[in-house]
């Protein structure tokens, strides 16, 4: 137990900080969801990261990574968020599919997909959920029908973030006639393939941040299947572990938000009740607790441990913290909380409202918190299944 960085770790932080200071765009990039231009600007940023070997620091050096341990990954993320660097347009690829492919992919798949993913040449979307299969992912009905050395994909996928402009997607499909967890395969398909139609879905605030994908006799080679035939559920669960557990939710993100919240409180505290300070302190403590828990988890993983059902505790904690934190900000803003950032008198409302709306999705996506609590109860505590 030594809660102090080594000199090497400190030097690494300085290196990241210097690179970010020199490279992070001064102005925020345009949204990657709204326009092709914004999307391509983010792709360029992925390329720039990759050129500096900052694309995915935990990846092997041969793939443009630095083969770093998770503590350095945390330091990298801390500096990334501290610098206000752009959101990773390829997070579905580098954080979810990449690690899954390293575990389950063939050598051919790794060399075909990973370097292009790292370089931002392929931007990936996720195609798991379906209108009839949300929390119950084993209820997917989209099919992959074997036809020689090809699959014919049919069905509808939903909640595919980035899918409107992305290049590739990975999705869960089932053999016709198979049921529930059996007979599923994880299949990769290009989003510009014949038979693929993409439609953006508007969020409640009008932002287009999700998409639907319709698949109508889409042909892809069998070599695009990740993992064995019929093993899609297991592969998918491994990916879900990455999603809710760690990689998509680095603590730095919440610590930056907590710092902003402290600043917001300081700016308005003369008009606020004393209890608001206690709420802000609680939000900050939560962000710290999350960071400490992740540092402890990364220390354990570095020593050879595995992520287990505690990734479900992470998911519940960050999603509830995110709501609590953004709610405090709205309380501080009071009657200005309802303002959109473009309102002429928005002042310092910033993105808190959008962050709140996004936070409201936290207990829903990546496995609803109800499902996560079931997992904790059954797999951590050993309670009987319903």
């Amino acid at each position: 137990m030594k809660l102090e960085y080594t000199d090497e770790q400190r030097a690494f932080r300085a290196e990241v900080r210097k690179w970010m200071a020199e490279n992070v765009p001064a102005e925020p990039l345009a949204s990657f969801d709204l326009t092709r231009e914004g999307f391509e600007a983010h792709r360029l940023w992925e390329r720039k990261l990759n050129d500096g070997r900052w694309g995915m620091v935990t990846w092997p050096e041969a793939l443009g990574g630095r083969n770093l341990d998770l503590i350095r990954w945390l330091i990298f993320e801390e500096e990334y968020y501290r610098a206000g660097a752009p959101t990773r347009v390829n997070q579905n690829g580098i954080f979810l599919l990449g690690p899954t492919m390293m575990e389950f992919g063939t050598e051919e798949q790794k060399s075909r997909f990973l370097p292009r993913m790292a370089a931002g040449e392929d931007i990936w979307a996720q195609a798991w959920s379906e209108p009839g299969a949300g929390s119950d992912l084993a209820g997917v009905s989209a099919t992959a029908t074997l036809d020689g050395d090809h699959y014919i994909l049919n069905g509808q996928k939903i909640w595919s973030s980035r899918a409107v402009f992305a290049d590739w997607a990975f999705g869960l499909f089932r053999a016709p006639g198979s049921e529930r967890h059996k007979g599923m395969s994880l299949v990769l398909f290009p989003l510009d393939a014949p038979g693929v139609t993409r439609r953006p879905i508007a969020r409640m605030d009008g932002e287009l941040v999700f998409a639907e994908i319709f698949l109508d006799d889409v042909r892809v080679p069998v070599a695009n299947r990740l993992g064995d035939e019929g093993q899609g559920w297991n592969v998918c669960m491994a990916t879900a572990g990455f999603e809710r557990g760690l990689l998509l939710r680095s603590p730095a993100r919440y610590q930056v938000a907590a710092s902003k919240l402290v600043a917001l409180y300081e700016a308005h505290k003369q008009d606020l009740p004393a209890s608001m300070g206690e709420r802000v302190a609680q939000n900050w403590m939560d962000a710290e607790a999350y960071a400490l828990a992740i540092y402890a988890m990364c220390s354990r993983l570095n020593a050879g441990g595995k992520i287990g059902p505690e990734s479900s505790t992470n998911k519940i904690f960050w999603s509830e913290m995110d709501i609590a934190m953004t709610q405090t900000a709205l309380e501080i803003l009071g009657p200005r909380a309802e303002l959109m950032p473009q309102a002429p008198d928005a002042g310092d409302v910033g993105d808190w409202l959008e962050d709140y709306i996004f936070a409201l999705a936290g207990p829903i996506y990546a496995g609803s918190n109800e499902i996560q609590r079931n997992i904790i109860a059954e797999r951590m505590l050993g309670l009987p299944r319903g």
Partner: protein, 343 residues
């Protein structure tokens, strides 16, 4: 002591509620947005014909001469329907204020007849519906000034709720615009009727969530049969059940204008805001990702509730009022009702 609506009250509320639910549908709301309409002229005509804007105006001004209790459940129904027109603000806030003026310059009768009067009270940084108002009541220090639309400059401030038409109003006070020395109970009436709307909004969110939970299947059965989903919605309903009577009591007591009466309105605003917030978030959780979309109607009610929670005084401000009531006046089982404390 009778904590129930009279038959007359129930009759007029039911008629208003039926009309609002029939004419104000989510599909209609979507159409208004597409056509960038601030007001549905046909509905507003019906509202006016029913005499709703003038319910609280004296009969001499063409009103119905009724009280806050007569209108409170209609405000709740307006929330339930997600009504975009400023009926509640006009009938519940502008009209009672105009009725208190020494000289309303004829505006009370015009308001009672359905002309929209925007109210710019210091509790709110912006003025709602200023662009469709026939006149504006604006604050200068404690004073109330009455301005013609031509005499003000409006700057639209986009709200997350597209039906909340917020404006910064730039204007200049003068001796001729001054109509009253103070706002009286305007802030409290604003808070009270915001609370009533939030009760309606919260109940609508629960009802939408319940309907979806009966319909949507996961793991082979309706999600509404899972205890986690049931308990989410049940807990929200409990919050509503114990906020609604506070709102009704506040309506019955507010005219006393005493600290207990004002604390009740504050309590109503806090409790209704929390109930609506919990109901909206619980329903959203039930809808899952669908609830996050523009396609599902839930967001109309969720966003209105979010905005009203902070309108007409923040929860923190209202908590202060309650705290000063309990630390300066008698509490206990014989100190429940404002009318008794006033004796």
């Amino acid at each position: 002591m009778d904590f129930a609506f009279t038959e007359d009250q129930q009759t007029i509320t039911q008629a208003a509620r039926d009309m609002l639910l029939e004419t104000c549908t989510p599909a209609g709301l979507r159409k208004m947005l597409e056509q960038n309409q601030a007001l549905d002229a046909a509905r507003w005509a019906t509202i006016t014909e029913m005499g709703l804007p003038g319910m609280l105006a004296p009969e001499a001004a063409g009103g119905l001469g009724l009280g806050l209790s007569d209108f409170i459940a209609i405000a709740e129904a307006a929330g339930y329907a997600g009504l975009p027109e400023p009926l509640v603000e006009l009938a519940g806030v502008a009209v009672p204020l105009l009725a208190e003026f020494h000289d309303d310059r004829g505006w009370l009768a015009r308001a009672a007849a359905g002309e929209i009067i925007a109210v710019g009270h210091a509790a709110n940084p912006f003025v709602t519906d200023a662009d469709i108002a026939a006149a504006l009541l604006l604050g200068h220090g404690n004073e109330v000034h009455l301005l013609a639309p031509e005499a003000v400059v409006l700057t639209r401030q986009e709200s997350v709720d597209p039906f909340r038409r917020l404006f910064r109003v730039d204007w200049a006070p003068g001796p001729e615009t001054r109509v009253a020395a103070s706002w009286g109970l305007t802030a409290e009436r604003g808070a009270l009727f915001a609370a009533a709307q939030m009760i309606g909004l919260g109940q609508r969110c629960i009802d939408l969530g319940v309907a979806y939970a009966k319909d949507r299947n996961q793991f082979g059965k309706p999600i509404g049969s899972y205890q986690a989903v049931k308990h989410l919605l049940a807990s929200a309903q409990v919050k509503i059940e114990f906020a609604r009577p506070v709102v009704y009591a506040a309506a019955a007591e507010l005219d006393l204008a005493s600290l207990p009466a004002r604390a009740r309105a504050a309590h109503a605003k806090i409790a209704a805001g929390e109930a609506a917030d919990l109901a909206a978030r619980s329903a959203l959780q039930v809808f899952g990702a669908m609830g996050m979309t523009w396609e599902v109607d839930l967001h109309f009610f969720l966003k209105r509730a979010l905005a009203l929670k902070f309108a007409w005084g923040t929860p923190a401000l209202h908590r202060g009022t309650v705290l000063s009531r309990i630390t300066s006046l008698a509490t206990g089982p014989d100190a429940t009702f404002a009318a008794e404390l006033a004796r």
